[in-house]
């Protein structure tokens, strides 16, 4: 049987990828909320990994990377899921991953910082700044934040949709990561 072997290889590849990741997928979420006329819809990313290196005593030294599996995007029905993978939307065949890499972190209040960095979606890199709050979550730390992005900046979407689909998309996350 070839299938179990392929599965084992895939599982190994995922494990290897996740080796650097300190993000606990089970207790984390990454969601892009888009608006169609009056209706807000959540697009959920099921798989992502990354590393957040944060020391409460030295918040300015925080570093964060995130790599999102764009093929794990779930908008709850098969037709839409197939549609957004096409080239005019996320083109997941050519661009299977979206990434974020922090460049500088400025602590604001206690437990809060502004992370500036580079967001790359569909091969387009754009600078962004995200306000993040940090909280203890058992032995781990939980990072919460949200930012708005413009679909146009990343060439996401068929322009004929623009009359009913907002350009702005709200990305919000709750990332739980083992503290280093």
């Amino acid at each position: 049987m070839r299938v179990p072997a392929a599965l084992a290889t895939a599982a190994f590849a995922v494990a290897a990828l996740a080796a650097d990741s300190n993000i606990d997928l089970l207790h984390s979420s990454l969601v892009a909320t888009f608006r169609q006329q009056a209706v807000s819809v959540d697009a959920v990313f099921r798989r992502f990994e990354g590393e957040i290196d944060y020391d409460p005593a030295l918040p300015a030294a925080t570093r964060a990377t995130l790599s999102v599996d764009m093929t794990s995007l779930d908008i709850s029905d098969e037709d839409t899921n197939a549609e957004v993978r096409k080239s005019v939307w996320f083109d997941t065949t050519r661009f299977p991953r979206a990434t974020f890499r922090s460049t500088s972190v400025k602590p604001s209040a206690a437990g809060h910082f502004d992370a500036a960095g580079e967001l790359t979606i569909k091969g387009q890199a754009r600078p962004i700044t995200v306000a993040v709050s940090v909280q203890r979550a058992g032995a781990a730390l939980a990072y919460d934040g949200r930012f708005e992005l413009s679909r146009r900046d990343f060439n996401i979407g068929d322009p004929t949709w623009n009359q009913v689909l907002d350009d702005k998309v709200l990305v919000h996350f709750h990332l739980q990561a083992a503290s280093h």
Binding site: Q37, A38, V39, S76, D77, T80, L165
Partner: protein
């Protein structure tokens, strides 16, 4: 007991008939449409129409409970029983179709915002596999409803043209009360 339907009952019957036939046609058309803004628009109209049907179901049921319908026109008992079953099914589908549509929309994470103005609560939390089940029930319900409406219309035409009785005429009689 009057021999006639009230004007309100007649109006509700025909408004609902027009609305439901339009919704069935939309539902049938949109299931074959490719994803895109046009389909999105048609799906939204379909949802708003369905919520309107749900509201009118309650108005109509309340009206019917407080305003007795005319006595049935003399016909064999089996026909009367069959008519009662069909009418009960029609009323049931006026409730089932909007509700399964609303449940489907909720389960796939699309809140219904009536006329783009009034956000309706989600009936269930987002749950795509459950959404697929409601989609199935809703689509098959649509087919069943189309069949029942067809039989209902055929029965009315049979009464009118074959039996030559008052069944259809009294649902059209706007005057003489």
């Amino acid at each position: 007991m009057s021999a006639n339907y009230t004007r309100t009952a007649i109006a509700l019957h025909w408004v609902l008939a027009g609305l439901i036939i339009t919704l069935l046609a939309m539902g049938w058309l949109m299931s074959d449409m490719p994803p895109g803004p046009t389909k999105f628009q048609v799906v939204n109209w379909h949802k708003w129409g369905g919520i309107t049907v749900l509201g009118l179901f309650f108005v109509r049921s309340l009206w019917r409970l407080t305003h007795p319908v005319p006595a049935p026109i003399p016909m064999p008992v089996w026909q009367q029983k069959l008519a009662e079953i069909m009418h009960a099914l029609l009323y049931a589908m006026l409730l089932v179709q909007p509700l399964t549509g609303w449940l489907y929309s909720s389960a796939v994470g699309r809140q219904v915002v009536y006329l783009n103005l009034i956000p309706l609560p989600n009936l269930v939390a987002r749950n795509p596999p459950l959404g697929a089940v409601f989609k199935d029930i809703h689509e098959n319900g649509g087919t069943l409803l189309a069949v029942i409406i067809g039989l209902h219309a055929l029965a009315a035409l049979k009464h009118h043209f074959v039996d030559r009785d008052d069944t259809l005429r009294r649902m059209l009689r706007w005057r003489a009360h």
